[in-house]
């Protein structure tokens, strides 16, 4: 037998969305036809139907619009799944309708997709629906978004049209969390840039649409850090054997590893990973396996087996985003059934915080959610759920709501976090304050007023507090809390955050050692300017290299630069992973990631060490305030 490429092909699930007449069905028909995935009898059926309609071209849309009602109305009204393969990869398309009342189908298709194709008609440009599709792709955390600007043939293959659409859509997408955005100009009807690069658009030097689909990184949305094993059923084939069947939702497991069963909290070790083809040395996210444990503990459907040092969150009050999918509107008095992993609990919507207008992205007050509406809610469940935020772990952050009377699936939900209403509100107010501080241009004016005079007026001395530590160690959390305290004390503060400067000041920099050095140099200079204006300047930067931190220190007078090392165990920050970055770094998606693929050099003589895995953010702030008082920066 010759080695068969078929046995090493991987899989990409993607979803397509477009407005009516954007040519979505034609594009799919084109992809299937040009990759020889439509058969003669299917093509004949389409030709026959086209002739019956009196059309003089083969309407490829007739192939993809499966149900009779759709063929009659000429619109796609339900999610249809299509398949095609090239020698590199197999593709599963969730073909979802773009028609206005069918947002629920788009959410359904997006839930399993790793890539979304958003079709924009070159003649019409970016329309409301294109934005809605982008919003849903971002909401469902689809890692890759491909914008296909279609019908280029009808605009004379004009580069300007393409560029205007790309610019407009990029501006819109910057408001969303769309990790990767690609634009390709195509004509689905004529096949330009669909499978082959088109000679009609020599100005376009990117890949064809199919080439992009074949080469985009798959598995990017898999979380390989947090081991989560929702138990489907316990198997007891013989007296001495007990195994727990399930599909690994995320993470990796090996025999011998310590695990905890939730909700009982009983601990054990994995004895073996059983499969039909023998015992496995290792199993990972997506694998359907059977686990046996060293100890006889009670485990049944709905339990979750996790690694001892890496527990999910547990709460019976959740902040969630809900997409309503039923004709029956949300009823706050209905005790819905919430299905999360392999578990069902009762839940009700305790509070509807706001509804999101999917066209404008505006938040608006609402009394209920109707079909196709999306909103932020607080859910209260009868028993705690074991979950991760959807952003960190799609597999354990999603759920559906089932109507207890009709048994229909009425909503799709994504968990944002445990509900902490009060904390949430203060953070919102604080961001506004911070925005005021940031936009104040007084800070940037060069005047003849000396630093000493400023300090006198402010009632405290100026200093730079330099927070360093791993991503996720808590630098920003502590610094923000501290700034709020200082603000309340009447201090002049200035806050420089690693993520924020990379959006603007340092947007041209990457994460190589050289770029990190330049990043810190610029920030150091800005910190000095703020210092000269008398501010207590808070800087939160991973700043992994000693030499760079030494440089920042060298810009300031002795005793005015306080290096604060926010120390946290790498395993713990991996587990916290508030931005989902470690998971992506471990999946190889982010290069040069500190702690994973790039080193962190610990400070040798920091002014203060905060062990954030041992003390709370509040205690950390107290410690820093005490240090500032001891140094005479602020008066105690």
């Amino acid at each position: 037998m010759t080695p068969d490429p078929y046995l090493s092909m991987d899989l990409l699930r993607f979803t397509t969305a477009g407005s009516v007449d954007d040519g979505k069905s034609t594009l799919i028909g084109r992809l299937l036809l040009d990759t020889k995935n439509i058969f003669e009898d299917q093509l004949e059926a389409v030709e026959r139907a086209s002739r019956l309609r009196g059309e003089d071209y083969v309407d490829l849309a007739l192939y993809t619009d499966g149900l009779r009602a759709e063929r009659e109305q000429r619109i796609t009204i339900d999610v249809a799944y299509r398949f095609f393969a090239t020698p590199k990869r197999k593709f599963i398309i969730a073909d979802t309708p773009g028609h206005i009342q069918y947002t629920r189908n788009m959410v359904t298709g997006a839930s399993t997709a790793e890539l979304a194709i958003i079709l924009i008609d070159a003649q019409k440009g970016v329309v409301t629906q294109s934005k809605r599709h982008g919003f849903i792709a971002s909401l469902l955390q689809i890692p890759h978004v491909l914008v296909a600007v279609n019908k280029m043939d009808l605009v004379g293959y004009d580069q300007g049209v393409f560029q205007r659409i790309a610019a407009e859509y990029t501006a819109f997408a910057s408001k969303l969390s769309a990790p990767s955005l690609t634009f390709i100009p195509i004509s689905a009807l004529l096949g330009d840039n669909v499978v082959q690069r088109s000679a009609a658009m020599p100005w376009y030097d990117g890949p064809s649409l199919l080439h992009h689909l074949e080469h985009v990184n798959v598995g990017a949305s898999r979380n390989l850090v947090d081991f989560r094993f929702p138990v489907q059923m316990a198997l007891r084939p013989s007296a001495g054997f007990r195994g727990f069947a399930g599909q690994i939702a995320s993470g990796v497991i090996r025999p011998g590893e310590e695990v905890v069963v939730l909700p009982s909290g009983r601990a054990s070790r994995v004895r073996s990973i059983v499969s039909y083809e023998g015992e496995l040395a290792e199993a990972a996210a997506g694998d359907s396996v059977l686990l046996t444990l060293e100890d006889e503990i009670d485990v049944s459907r709905g339990d979750m087996i996790v690694r001892a040092g890496n527990l999910p969150q547990a709460s019976a009050a959740l902040q969630c985003t809900l997409c309503w999918m039923s004709e029956e509107p949300l009823n706050r008095h209905t005790p819905y059934i919430l299905q999360h992993t392999t578990r069902q609990v009762r839940a009700h919507v305790d509070q509807l915080t706001y509804r999101i207008d999917v066209d404008t992205l505006h938040r608006e007050p609402a009394q209920t959610l109707e079909l196709n509406e999306i909103g932020r809610v607080r859910l209260v469940t009868t028993q705690p759920l074991y979950f991760d935020s959807y952003q960190v772990n799609r597999a354990t952050g999603n759920f559906i709501l089932i109507d207890p009377y009709s048994n229909n699936t009425v909503a799709a939900g994504m968990i944002r976090r445990e509900d902490q209403e009060v904390a949430d509100l203060t953070v919102a107010n604080f961001s506004e304050k911070l925005a005021t501080i940031r936009s104040s241009n007084v800070v940037w004016e060069r005047t003849a007023i000396s630093q000493e005079l400023r300090e006198q007026r402010h009632g405290h001395r100026a200093a730079v507090l330099w927070f360093t530590g791993l991503s996720g160690s808590g630098k920003s959390t502590i610094a923000r809390l501290l700034e709020r305290r200082l603000w309340a004390l009447g201090c002049e503060t200035f806050y420089l955050d690693g993520d924020n400067v990379r959006h603007g000041l340092n947007r041209d920099l990457g994460f190589s050692a050289e770029d990190r050095q330049e990043n810190i140099r610029r920030v150091g200079e800005v910190a000095r300017l703020a210092f000269e204006h008398g501010a207590l300047t808070l800087c939160t930067f991973i700043s992994p290299f000693r030499a760079d931190r030494r440089f920042a220190r060298s810009l300031l007078p002795e005793g005015r630069f306080l290096e604060i090392y926010v120390k946290c165990d790498l395993e713990i920050v991996k587990r916290r992973d508030p931005k989902g970055l470690y998971a992506r770094a471990l999946a190889g998606e982010i290069a040069d990631f500190t702690g994973i693929s790039s080193p962190y050099e610990e400070p040798e003589a920091a002014e203060l060490v905060i062990e954030s895995d041992l003390i709370s953010a509040e205690d950390a702030v107290e410690a820093i305030l005490a240090e500032l008082a001891a140094r005479g920066v602020v008066t105690g």
Binding site: Y6, L7, M9, D10, L11, F39, E40, D41, A49, G66, L67, R68, A69, I77, D78, V79, A80, Y81, R82, F83, A85, K90, I92, N105, T108, T112, G219, R222, L224, Q232, M233, P237, F241, A245, G246, Q247, V252, V274, Y276, A284, A285, G286, D287, S288, L290, M325, I337, Q339, T342, R394, A395, N398, F399, I400, I402, N407, N408, A412, A587, G588
Partner: protein, 301 residues
């Protein structure tokens, strides 16, 4: 750090195992349908893995039209032995005898439509709540919108406009008394995936799939195997040809293809080069543009 990449076949297998286990966990009385075709065979082997080292915890049901290839029955009995599962046979002949169904008029009638009656009666008689089937979404355009967990009303009917949305891998099997589900663990497999899987896992399949010499006659554009239920009309010529079957259904509606493919490798090459879908050889799908959709609505698989 290894990448933990999985091939598409590994992913499809893991998905099918998950769906089969969900069926066993969510329903008290599931059943797995066996048609004799390669899809139901692959499903049965995947089910064996899902519960290994235990046995499949539900029976296998065969809707016997009485128009089977003898090879299918032989294979069925061997499979049941090998898996150690209980076999339930529901007979179309019995439905006819009881007056529940009526034979089509004409020469060599098809019992394809009658199967639906027998299936629904058998599900009710045994109080089966969920029936696992080997249907795939790539087979036919009405199937492209089918769910993994397909809800059926009290009459076994499918309402294409009122299907439950299926999100992530959450399958909602809740139902009222008397309602049921059809479950399709191989939804995302293609014909090629099934063949490649059979080869990879060395799954034995009925000899009908391999080329052999057989007496056939040409009818409705298909080569049908001559048998008790397919007899030549005066104008029809019986010929001896080297053929094989791409799908296996009833003798009355399963067309043979001329082929010399006698190994799995040869079959796979043939499938890769094929220009006609496997269902293109099925007379039952040719009746109207929405033939499959109509049959599904009344309870067909």
């Amino acid at each position: 750090m290894s990448s933990y990449l999985r091939t598409h076949l590994q992913q499809l297998e893991a998905e099918a195992i998950y769906v089969i286990r969900e069926t066993a966990a969510q329903f008290e009385r599931p059943v797995m349908l066996f048609s004799g075709g390669k899809d139901s065979i692959v499903m049965a082997f995947v089910a064996q893995q899902a519960f290994w080292p235990g046995k499949i915890p539900f029976p296998l049901m065969h809707i016997d039209t009485g128009h089977n290839f003898p090879e299918t029955i032989e294979y069925r009995d061997w499979l049941v032995q090998r898996l150690g599962v209980q076999l339930v046979v529901a007979s179309v002949q019995q439905s006819i005898d009881r007056g529940r169904a009526q034979e089509e008029p004409g020469h060599n009638p098809s019992r394809n439509v009658l199967q639906t009656v027998t299936l629904l009666d058998a599900l009710a008689e045994h109080r089966f709540e969920a029936a696992l089937g080997g249907g795939r979404r790539d087979e036919e355009k009405a199937r492209a919108k089918e769910r993994f967990f397909s809800h059926r009303d009290r009459f076994g009917q499918w309402d294409p406009k009122n299907q439950r949305p299926e999100l992530w891998s959450l399958y909602n099997g809740r139902k009222h008394l008397g309602e049921g589900f059809r479950v399709f663990p191989l939804s995302n497999w293609t014909e090629m995936d099934v063949w490649q899987y059979i080869r990879l896992k060395e799954i034995p399949i009925p000899s009908l799939y391999f080329s052999h010499r057989r007496e056939v006659l040409r009818r409705d554009g298909m080569w049908l195997a001559v048998s008790d239920v397919i007899t030549p009309l005066p104008h029809e010529q019986v010929e001896s040809k080297i053929v094989r079957f791409r799908t296996i259904g009833d003798l009355t509606c399963t067309g043979a293809v001329e082929s010399t493919a006698s190994t799995l490798d040869a079959i796979i090459l043939e499938v890769a080069a094929a220009r006609v879908t496997e269902r293109g050889g099925r007379a039952d799908d040719k009746r109207s543009e929405a033939a499959m959709e109509d049959r599904k609505k009344v309870g067909y698989f």
